[in-house]
Amino acid sequence: MMDAPLLPLFILMTSLLAAPILFALPERSARLRTGINLSMAALKVALVGWLSLKVSQGGIYDLRFEMLPGLEFKLQADPLAILFIALSAVLWLITTVYSVGYLEHGPHRARFFGFFSLCVAATVGIAMSGNLFTFLLFYELLTLATYPLVIHRGDAASLRAGRIYLIYTLAGGLVLLLGTLGLWVLAGTTDFVPGGVLADVVAETPLAAKLLFVVLIGALGVKAALFPFHAWLPIAMVAPAPVSALLHAVAVVKAGAFGIMRVVYEVFGIETAQALGVTVPLAVLAGITIIYGSLRAITQDDIKKRLAYSTVSQVSYITLGVALASPIAATGALAHLIHQGLMKITMFMAAGNLAEGLGVKRVSQMDGVGRAMPGTMLAFSLAALGMIGLPPLAGFVSKWYLAQGGLEAGQDWVIALLLGSSLLNAIYFLPMLHRAWFCDAAAQRDGAPGRPRIGWMLAAPPITTAVLVLVAGGFANAPFSPLEWTRFIVAIEYQE
Amino acid sequence: MTPDLIYGVTGIAVFGIGLVGALCAQERLRRVLALKLCSVGAGFLLVVGAWREPPDTPDPVPHALVITGIVVMVSATAVALALIRRLQTLEAEDDA
């Protein structure tokens, strides 16, 4: 089989090069734009499949490019990267279909899809970054590419939200720059190495190392919506549905969580971090975020805001799993990276369909929508049940591993936390399902005539992802399932 | 007391006076003149530096430099004055 050392670069380029082409296309050539979008997305999925095959066979991909003396731009494709890229590639393909349908007659489509591509390129870059410096480059690119998407509507509300989003994320980026510089000055390298690069520094100047940890986690915590840096996420809900779907399920928050993973595992090294005594506070912070996000979600009437607070809560599962410093918890965290992505994107796309098809934007308007849009609501319900952790859905698998990991790490409170969180999830999701399926629509909508018209491009994506949620949970032990792949990664990170 | 000492201090004084004028003068024309004073002060310094106790002849290089400086300064002055003239014309048109 042909060997392509530049494969990671090709994967990056499928979306990076698509962006300028999409920008340059005139607004009206919609078909061509859709064609480019879909073929690039499909190409990326194929390339990622090939790459993961090669990596599972032991292939090593490592591209370097000197930016400053000693400081390299470095792309690598390790299993952890593959996990994230695969998620992005698949969901990009699905979301692209959804966006094409969603924006069929909207304005500024050239701009939208250009930045959309850039955004995915940044996510892929973040995944494949071989050092913190490269990570920083893509992290900032992600901020810049998502800003125009967040304010896509161009009205006062979205601009206000955009400003808040920009302030949070750029400030976070600046702090990350500070942390990267600190790492570079302290350790003389910013490379991601399993086991970490800071063992010597921790031994010599633990205070500086602790400070560095706080700075880095603080910076990444902004994007990961870690309490107390989460406020931007619900506000950014003004963005169009596909943007919310992709950003919250994949790009932005996951980039933050992924970064925390890289920092704990490959900058500090899990043992060094444990020795430094920073993992438990991080786990506690994650725990607080989980509960806090769920509590806030209960009180939200706006569907997208409720989902957003749910994201705040759910993403911290990943942080929690990382911080517990147990291989089993880590497996759960990594699996949750995928599972939460699948579930959350389903729910956002479904919410978008409700708004598009029925004009339903609030929980209180959801009465009877199940009958009006059964496919969409079925998908939504599956994802919601998964979130709550109902076996055998995907969410159950990750929660199960997290709980076991908590036991293994001797942090018994995690069990209570997970149970409490599941309970809260049920409290804010089940009423939605109840309204959708068991309440009468007529009470609210004055005899909405017939079925709402949404095209297949809107209807199919959430159903597809919902099926994936089922599959990921049900066939968790199959080869190439997310769970199997995460075991492969954990073996590397824990250097077993 | 030799001429170089006397005129050196003179040159620095003239430079200083020009500096005050350049910073404080109100009228546009006077500011140009103040700058010209500064340039004369700088010229003094170079000419003084070139001076040698007679019968030695002075160093010709600074003389050349000062001549260059004088020509440069008249060019700059001409441009500044042209600006002033045009501005005044425009402002007078506005008043009218």
Binding site: - | M1, I6, Y7, G8, T10, I12, A13, V14, F15, G16, L19, V20, L23, A25, Q26, E27, L29, R30, V32, L33, A34, K36, L37, S39, V40, G43, F44, V47, W51, R52, E53, D56, T57, P58, D59, P60, V61, A64, L65, I67, T68, I70, V71, V72, M73, S75, A76, T77, A78, V79, L81, A82, L83, I84, R85, R86, Q88, T89, E91, A92
Partner: protein, 321 residues
């Protein structure tokens, strides 16, 4: 027994400083210019005392003469433009006295510091004396200042001519052919004087240029004196610049720069670098350059005095942006 000349030096120095102060403090702008002209002439005298006749000539002709004429012309224009009103008005908000005093004190401190530095510097310190003396035979001229200007540091001099060119381009650009203040009516005596003076000035200017090779004088001084011809012609309205003269004027402006730069470039080759005149032709080349530069300087200075580009006056030009 002090040298009586020291007393003269001291008095002259005092007068120079006093005139400088007077130029900045006298209220009337016309008086200011007159005081400045006297100041310039006395400075030139001081430079003669410092054995710098070339510089004195240049300062008297260009630094004082041409500058004074430019200032007077501008003042005349300002008074005309503002309709005989006092020109001392400024569009800026008056600076508070406190700020002025602070500025003055600040400048005074700087001046004191400079004076201390000056007194600490070596008197008649190291210089180029020996180097110039050694290199003069290879320079092609006999007068050291000319040697420095046209040979050792010819590049500086070329750029100085470029500055003049830039100035005249900028001035033509700035003054958009707007109507000028009318020339003052001078009378017949003046006309007669001009007729008498013009040829004499031409002779003097050419003489200064020619003599520059071995004695004080040279292109700049000669050019300035010749520029006086232009000033006289313009003032007497014996010559009124016409739009169709612009081509010739442009040619005259760039003549010095162009020839200078061309010569500098063309002598390079065969192991020589730019500006390295072959020794046999050095004198000729320098004279050629000086001649062309003199013409340019004379015409340029006169054009700077005249100010605006001679374009056909149309109403729409007045608001040309």
């Amino acid at each position: 027994m002090t040298d009586p000349l020291v007393i003269f030096d001291l008095l002259l120095a005092l007068a120079i400083v006093a005139l400088a102060v007077a130029a900045l403090s006298v209220r009337d702008l016309y008086a200011m210019i007159v005081v400045f002209v006297i100041f310039g002439l006395l400075s030139a005298l001081a430079w003669v005392r410092l054995s710098a006749p070339d510089v004195a000539l240049a300062e008297a002709a260009i630094g004082t003469g041409v500058t004074g004429a430019l200032l007077l012309k501008t003042l005349h224009h300002l008074r005309f433009a503002s309709g005989q009103r006092s020109v001392s008005m400024t569009p800026t908000i008056p600076v508070p006295t406190g700020v002025m005093l602070a500025n003055a004190a600040f400048c005074g401190l700087i001046t004191l510091g400079l004076a201390v530095a000056f007194l600490g510097a070596p008197s008649a310190g190291p210089g180029f004396d020996t180097l110039v003396a050694e290199s003069m035979p290879a320079s092609g001229v006999d007068h050291p200042v000319t040697g420095v200007l046209l040979n050792f540091r010819a590049y500086d001099t070329l750029m100085e001519v470029v500055v003049l060119l830039a100035a005249v381009v900028a001035v033509w650009q700035i003054e958009r052919g707007l109507s000028d203040a009318p020339a003052p009516e001078m009378g017949e005596v003046w006309q007669g004087f001009a007729r008498l003076a013009l040829p004499a000035i031409v002779v003097v200017g050419t003489y200064l240029l020619w003599v520059g090779a071995e004695a004080p004088g040279g292109a700049f001084q000669g050019g300035a004196v010749l520029a006086a011809v232009g000033l006289l012609l313009l003032l007497t309205r014996a010559y009124v610049p016409q739009p169709h003269h612009r081509g010739i004027a442009r040619g005259a402006f760039v003549l010095g720069t162009g020839v200078f730069a061309l010569v500098a470039l063309l002598v390079a080759g065969g192991g020589r670098v730019a500006f390295e005149y072959p020794l046999d032709h050095a004198k000729t080349l320098i004279l050629l350059i000086e001649g062309m530069v003199t013409i340019s300087i004379a015409v340029t200075l006169a054009a700077l005095f005249h100010g605006r580009e001679p374009v056909a006056l149309r109403m729409e030009d007045r608001h040309d942006t």
